[in-house]
Symmetry: none
Subunit: 237 residues, 4 copies
DNA sequence: TATGAATGAGGTTTCATTCAT
DNA sequence: TATGAATGAAACCTCATTCAT
């Protein structure tokens, strides 16, 4: 009634072990190199990161429901069961991934305001960062994923609204009001709808996912044109 | 004798069928009642429409992968097998649905241009129609559905780009160029990025799906503010 | 992405269909024999019964946790999914089975009391029925199954106590009191512990399951000896 | 960073290990403290006992198949792997447990026969011990466990029959025959069915597991009544 | 010796699709 | 044409067992 001896020849672990060996090789003869050779905890962290990365890829490519944990495991080079050492189930994994995926995003966007800059320069700097860091990267896909799955994961939508959207809009509103006060922005109504400021950037995110192959979109130039509408035309060089 | 939880007492189908039968019975042998008794083809069309409507609701609520044909059948008041009399499989049904869902949309948006109107009036009329017919209706959810499922259904993205996006952008570009020619629009660059024109409307679509419950958004007023940026501030009436 | 054509050659259904054909054959030339040929509902009931029987066998042989739905399906000659058309899940199936398994048991034991019989004859008749119908049949295994799984399925133990044990004990107490009143039973204390009356029969049930192969036990003769203790020795033939 | 629901904060093992370490530390290098510092073998034995105890609890609570080694390890305060240092696998552990669980049981029941006692006193003494030591303790659950799992572990049923049942019955038969010879027991047939003697005690075991919460059962008084049937009514003191 | 992260076979359950009625 | 019971592939998840540390 007992199982036959299990075959122990899986290739993904082999791949991993090779890596560890390489690391060890570079340290040959160093008897105890606790800092440079990945220890257990470090390897667990690596493994977890591999799962996170693989899951992100799969979720982006297929959405929550159509993603198979099997594929995530394969891509991460771990066994299916290993995923459950790190996450309670598929749903919690998804929610946690989405949550943690945007936290660094927010930090990166709160760039230090260059001293003595105009409001337009402020907004333009922010937008360029956003386009560089989000629109043309995997993070843009995450934004699209939130749009796609938000209605089915209200807790994600709630979290995203609370942690990102409301704060982001508040920040933009402050900037807009500064622009109005300084006379850079003519239309005082804009402060009521900071969404307008970011709208073209979000459109660019969606465009890249769906239509980039049909017609490329120069997000930066589009955003500059948008700023011209808000701040008045640039001096034509 | 207890049947599993999935209740066997679906009232809608029963109701529907009984109704049809009653209608038929009361008209039996009356050859000349062409208007009141739906013939076979008509009933098939009705049924098909019920399936289409039900499927749309379910796909919007859950996305493609998580939607069950069982639920569609239940909601449509037909048997599961009946769906396969009208559609090859779930995938074709989804694709066909998305395709046919937007065709009337496009027609509705090509409103007859009011003679002697300014370009701003033109655009504003178009936008108000869009907001009324799309942003605050089920059709907005379809747009979000396209954003959500587009990457997994390239044929849908292709179709949508070909039939809607490229034509829509071309139309908007023409209007923008008219506005530039007439001097209503100052920034000539806008013609290169007609996406900017529609951006806030799309943002409104997404906002309604995800964040409406956190903070309502007055799409019309936002769009008017956006138009002020493009056409110059409104005269306060 | 669609499944290959499914192979349609499973043997169990074939077996079933042969049965239907036999039924049909016996009615050859009877064009419409709605009563004798199993119709859809009848066949569904048959199928359900096959599942119930198969499940009972498997649960008895392995206990709840170790029983595989796969094996039940195989034994019943149905697909795994079919089980879920009749039962919500494995647990409800088990509980429902145990419940329905004992209902006919109780009825069978409430035999019509033969007029003019002594109390001993009454008890002996009941005991013989119990031994014939329970101890040496599959139903004995069900009793053992209740003993085995009761603690993990409190609802089963509760149900069994309520519907069988308490009623059975009450009935036995009444009979004992009758025996005391008539002077057949000397020990009045027995009415306080009707469990004593049935104890050897239950021991026999357990013995058959565990030790029959080591040493056969003549349950009937053992019970007669037990009755001799209660009613006084039989006239030795 | 959140680990799955299975909490990582097991206090018992931590407590245990800390304690052992403290003990070891305070005694480090003190060679001559053989009585106070448990040596390796002693600690291994302690650990093994902890595993045995924990396993017993879990097996009783859930049965063989539904018991998880994880839970046993947690309860015993050891790592899962440690179990495999003491037992080949789950199955052998279960079999060994059941075997060793009853050995002390048997010894305890073979009480020294009080000199000059009547046979009834002999049996009553034995029964009281059984009720005290088995019916109302964890050992009663073990008996039920044997009933529950016996059919799936023939080797256990065999062992139990060989080592306990056959010997126990032989002993009881001897006592019965003594009672018959001394005239204390009137019914000579009882020697053919010593099972009758123990039957109410076993019923009590089962009753405690399943129905105690519905209706308490005074096992001792029930057994005394049973003995009255066998030996004749007690003189009411 | 002891650990516990990792494994992956195997379990339960779901659901798109078929087909006899 | 319409039904819905039946199917079975494939999904998620568990847990006995192993093994590097």
């Amino acid at each position: 009634m007992k199982l036959a001896a299990k075959s122990k020849t899986r290739s993904p672990p082999a791949r991993r072990r090779v890596a560890s060996r390489a690391a060890r090789a570079s340290e040959t003869k160093v008897v105890s190199a606790p800092l440079s050779r990945p220890n257990r905890a470090e390897r667990a962290a690596e493994r977890r990161q591999a799962i996170v990365d693989a899951a992100m890829e799969e979720f982006i490519a297929r959405g929550f429901a159509a993603t198979r944990l099997d594929d995530i495991a394969k891509r991460a080079g771990v066994a299916k069961g290993t995923i459950y050492l790190h996450f309670k189930d598929k749903e919690s994994m998804f929610e946690e991934l989405i949550r943690t995926a945007i936290v660094p995003l927010v930090g990166r966007l709160q760039a230090p305001p260059p001293a003595g800059a105009t409001v337009r320069e402020l907004v333009e700097g922010f937008a360029l960062t956003f386009i560089r860091e989000v629109v043309n990267t995997r993070r843009g896909d995450i934004v699209r994923l939130i749009v796609a799955e938000g209605p089915r994961f209200p807790s994600i939508a709630d979290f995203y609204y609370r942690e990102v959207v409301s704060k982001g809009l508040a920040g933009m509103r402050a900037v807009i009001e500064l622009g109005i006060a300084r006379g850079e922005i003519a239309n005082a109504n804009l402060a009521r709808f900071p969404q307008i400021l970011i709208a073209p950037a979000l459109i660019a995110v969606i465009w890249q996912s769906l239509f980039a192959k049909h017609a490329p979109l120069d997000a930066i130039e589009m955003f500059r044109t948008h700023l011209d509408l808000i701040f008045g035309e640039r001096r034509t060089t």
